[in-house]
């Protein structure tokens, strides 16, 4: 009995140490990537290509999801606010929820699943087929040439996607609340305008999405680069990217929100 408890405690200890060293490994990789970022900007066409693959190709899922989330907010918001006779404020509810929280967080989660896993798979596959090795043997640093542009392409795409997510969300809320339910259009926009502060809400939301982008891209590139060069290795790495990114996003969200509300 006692040995079982001892075993469990040891397991928890091991897991915690693994978690901490995992976070450390991602951080070290991030620093290395950043120090080799010159190529990503000097040969900007490489980064542009990655902005296309991470950002443009994620547009559809971001815009559609944004629309749906906004519409649901409009619907749910109206239901609840109506009981207090404040249905005119549904615009405020939709806009604030989206700009402060749902916009950055949901778009980052979607980005991690779609673009993050793709980045991991691509880099992992290049490792498994010895393309990274070949590049090294040709005296080209694979981190500068392969990892860097993918990292920056993702980081630059993230805030753009979040801005679009929030915008389509607001429009979705408008469609439901004003066009479908019949809330007054003028009240919808004017109340929203008064309640949403640019620097407090919109800017903070975009700062959050930038931080989330850094985290997701760091994790995605790290997992791809350190994947075992086999089929299982790559598939395990893509799964880990999605899971770790999602947890990181939620944890960072807590920290950033607390920080932003106080300041």
């Amino acid at each position: 009995m006692l040995s079982k408890i001892k075993n469990d405690v040891q397991n928890v200890g091991h897991l915690t140490l693994e978690l901490i060293s995992g976070i450390g490994a991602v951080f070290v990789f991030l620093i290395v990537t950043l120090s080799h970022s010159a190529t990503s900007f000097q040969r900007f066409s490489l980064t542009i290509r990655e902005i296309f693959f991470s950002g443009v190709l994620s547009l559809i899922i971001i815009l559609v999801s944004g629309l749906f989330v906004g519409m649901v907010l409009g619907l749910q918001g109206y239901e609840t606010l109506q009981t207090y006779g404040s249905s005119d404020s549904v615009g405020v509810l939709v806009a604030l929820s989206l700009t402060r929280e749902l916009g950055p967080v949901v778009s980052a989660l979607l980005f991690a699943s779609r673009a993050g896993s793709a980045i991991t798979a691509e880099i992992g596959l290049m490792k498994a087929t010895e393309q990274l090795s070949a590049m090294e043997m040709m005296a080209i640093n694979p981190i500068a040439r392969v990892v860097g542009p993918r990292f920056w392409g993702g980081v630059l795409s993230m805030p753009v996607l979040t801005a679009m997510f929030i915008s389509t969300g607001v429009l979705g809320g408008y469609m439901i609340a004003v066009l479908l339910i019949g809330v007054d259009s003028g009240a919808f926009w004017s109340q929203m305008n008064a309640a949403v502060d640019f620097s407090h809400d919109v800017l903070n939301g975009l700062i959050k999405s930038f931080v989330f982008g850094l985290a997701v891209c760091a994790i995605a590139t790290y997992q791809g680069y350190s994947a075992a060069p086999t089929a299982e290795g790559v598939s395990g790495a893509t799964t880990r990217t999605v899971v770790s990114s999602s947890l990181a996003i939620l944890a960072l969200d807590l920290v950033l929100t607390a920080f932003m509300l106080k300041g």
Partner: protein, 274 residues
């Protein structure tokens, strides 16, 4: 001052963590020669190539490649050295997002400031040398295994390297493609004087091709010599390898408990049922 040996290895040891992969390796590869490193899968052959290319550092011993001490070489010097080396990977390792043309032109674009027109001519020259000028616009995914390897060869020789390393160039190819690759390696060596190091376990093809052979088994060199010496060797390991014998120094049976043990276990089991 360039020595006449392209690569000199003396008393090399390489460990990966706790495991000793290579022990006490001694080799001397003269410039312009073609040598083969043979042995079973997992004996450490590919590790040797990685050590030559500087991707791994020796744990002990000395490794001199083109006059450079590989244990203490700095990044810049290493990158300079790599531009004089070429490596053909087992399955080609072509960059899948670039076309055949872009793959071959890759090194020229990255390491030289040659104008595109010149690069165009050089790229087509290299592709012509391997007989694949016609697939220049195809993507690597559209090529067969043999063709991909030939394109990879064209890519590797783009800057006319001094040392070429081949990681299992014959594995998985049909006899015609095998012959083609062997001929290309030969021609390259005689045309450019490139020192060629072939890691393989294809005995027949390589004995026809090379000047000298090293046999590696479980991390040590067990035999070496010219192809004729190897064919005539009476060493049990070499004999088993060259003639493809099923049993010998490399046993057929993987270690397992003896048959008596197995039968004894069954007997007690059935008696327990009574």
């Amino acid at each position: 001052m360039a020595s006449d040996a392209a690569i000199e290895v003396s008393n090399l040891n390489f460990q990966y963590g706790e495991r000793a992969i290579l022990r006490g390796i001694n080799m001397r590869i003269p410039r312009g020669s073609i040598i083969a490193i043979m042995g079973q899968s997992g004996c450490g052959k590919t590790t040797l190539l990685r050590l030559f290319g500087g991707q791994l550092k020796p744990t002990e011993g000395s490794l001199i490649v083109d006059g450079q001490d590989m244990r203490s070489i700095q990044t810049d010097a290493l990158y300079q050295l790599r531009r004089r080396m070429g490596m053909l990977f087992q399955f080609g390792a072509l960059f899948t997002d670039l076309s055949v043309y872009d793959n071959v032109a890759f090194q020229m674009r990255e390491h030289t400031s040659l104008p595109e027109t010149l690069i165009h001519d050089l790229t087509l020259l290299k592709l012509q040398a391997v007989g694949l000028r016609g697939v220049r616009d195809r993507m690597p995914g559209e090529l067969s295994g043999g063709m991909a390897r030939r394109v990879a060869l064209a890519r590797a020789i783009a800057l006319d390297p001094m040392i070429m390393m081949y990681d299992e160039p014959f594995t998985g190819l049909d006899p015609i493609s095998m012959g083609v690759i062997a001929k290309l390696i030969r021609d390259l060596n005689s045309a450019l004087g490139t020192t060629s190091i072939i890691v393989t376990h294809d005995v027949q093809e390589s004995l026809r091709l090379v000047d000298y052979v090293y046999f590696v088994s479980q991390g040590v060199i067990v035999a070496e010599g010219t192809p004729d010496q190897i064919r005539a060797s009476t060493l049990p390991y070499v004999h088993q390898f060259v003639w493809g014998e099923m049993d010998g120094p490399v046993p057929f049976h993987y270690p397992a408990p003896s048959m008596q043990h197995l039968l004894a276990g069954q007997r007690s089991h059935s008696s327990g049922q009574n």
